[in-house]
């Protein structure tokens, strides 16, 4: 299986340089469409996305892709807010909180 990347041209260029050939260049308007295309490709095992771009997706679809196992969607950049929120909801305590916060 292969690694794929979805995001702006600038974001994807570096991954192209590392050899990733499944590159989905998407902007605000066609992000969800491109994401659906990437998610339906059975050759993709890991999908790297820019964490900031996830705001272009609907809440339901975002939750669905972040829970996906094949491909596994890994947000790059941004914080760990989604996982942090989930931990807080399930365990009841913010385990990501550091001493500085």
């Amino acid at each position: 299986m292969e690694i794929a990347v979805i995001g702006s041209d600038e974001f994807a260029l570096g991954f192209r340089l590392a050899g990733v050939r499944h590159v989905f260049v998407a902007d605000k308007d066609n992000y969800q469409e491109k994401m659906q295309e990437a998610m339906s490709n059975a050759d993709i095992g890991v999908l790297a996305v820019n964490a900031d771009d996830l705001q272009y997706l609907s809440q339901n679809y975002k939750a669905k892709i972040l829970d996906s196992i094949q491909p596994v969607v890994v947000p790059v950049g941004g914080g760990e807010s989604d996982l942090r929120e989930k931990v807080k909801k399930v365990i009841g305590v913010d385990l990501y909180k550091t001493e500085d916060e």
Binding site: I3, G14, L17, A18, V46, I69, V87
Partner: protein, 211 residues
């Protein structure tokens, strides 16, 4: 099922006792599963936090290096190097079981490509492009490891949530309702027995008066 909607018979009472016993043993097992999952979760949490920090720092370093490469060599040189690549990274997806729950196992197969197999000439490209490519390869490696750990954590969290809901339902809804029903059936049976005894005594008295 409301406690008063059931037929107060001995067979129903036996059935209820059986259900209570089963629910209580199920509750104990579920509680143990929940505790086991939480222990497992804490082990994965530390890894996930470290991995997330690794992804963030690798991403920053890689973006910095590609920006330098674009500034020094120009957009076209970086793009032509990127499009000239012939080897592509692959991963192997399999699954493993944690307390009966299947989680994905992601292994990187070939991420690093040696400079001679890249597909572009070593002389034509600068060291900055090579640096940027190496930084993105490192980021991909961290991403693959993060993918496995984060997905395991998500699945563990889902399972903990499901198990917690089941434990709470058994503890606060199912078992108390079954116990209420059992109490109701017991009281009704005792009441019926008392009614029978009174009826028999009454008949006996009537029979004695007739003789």
């Amino acid at each position: 099922m409301a406690a008063h909607d059931i037929t107060p018979t001995r067979s129903v009472l036996l059935e209820l006792k059986k259900k209570i016993k089963l629910s209580q043993s199920g509750y104990k097992i579920m509680k143990m599963k929940r505790d086991g999952l939480i222990i497992e979760f804490f082990e994965v949490l530390e890894k996930a936090r470290a991995m997330r920090a690794g992804v963030a720092s690798d991403f920053q370093a890689a973006m910095k290096k590609i920006t330098i490469a674009r500034a020094v060599d120009g957009e076209i040189a970086v793009r032509s190097a990127a499009y000239a690549l012939q080897n592509y990274p692959t991963v192997k997806l399999s699954s493993k079981s944690i307390m009966g729950m299947m989680v994905p196992k992601v292994e990187a197969e070939s991420i690093h490509t040696s400079i001679v197999n890249k597909g572009y000439g070593v002389i034509e490209t600068s060291a900055y492009i090579e640096d940027a490519a190496a930084a993105f390869e490192k980021l991909l490696e961290t991403l693959v490891r993060a993918a496995e750990v984060e997905t395991t954590m998500k699945k563990l969290l889902d399972e903990i949530e499901r198990t917690k809901r089941r434990v709470n339902a058994l503890e606060f809804k199912i078992i108390p309702e079954l116990k209420d029903s059992e109490r109701f059936v017991k009281f009704r049976l005792e009441e019926m027995e008392r009614e029978n005894t009174t009826r028999l005594k009454h008949l006996k008295k009537k029979g004695a008066a007739a003789e």
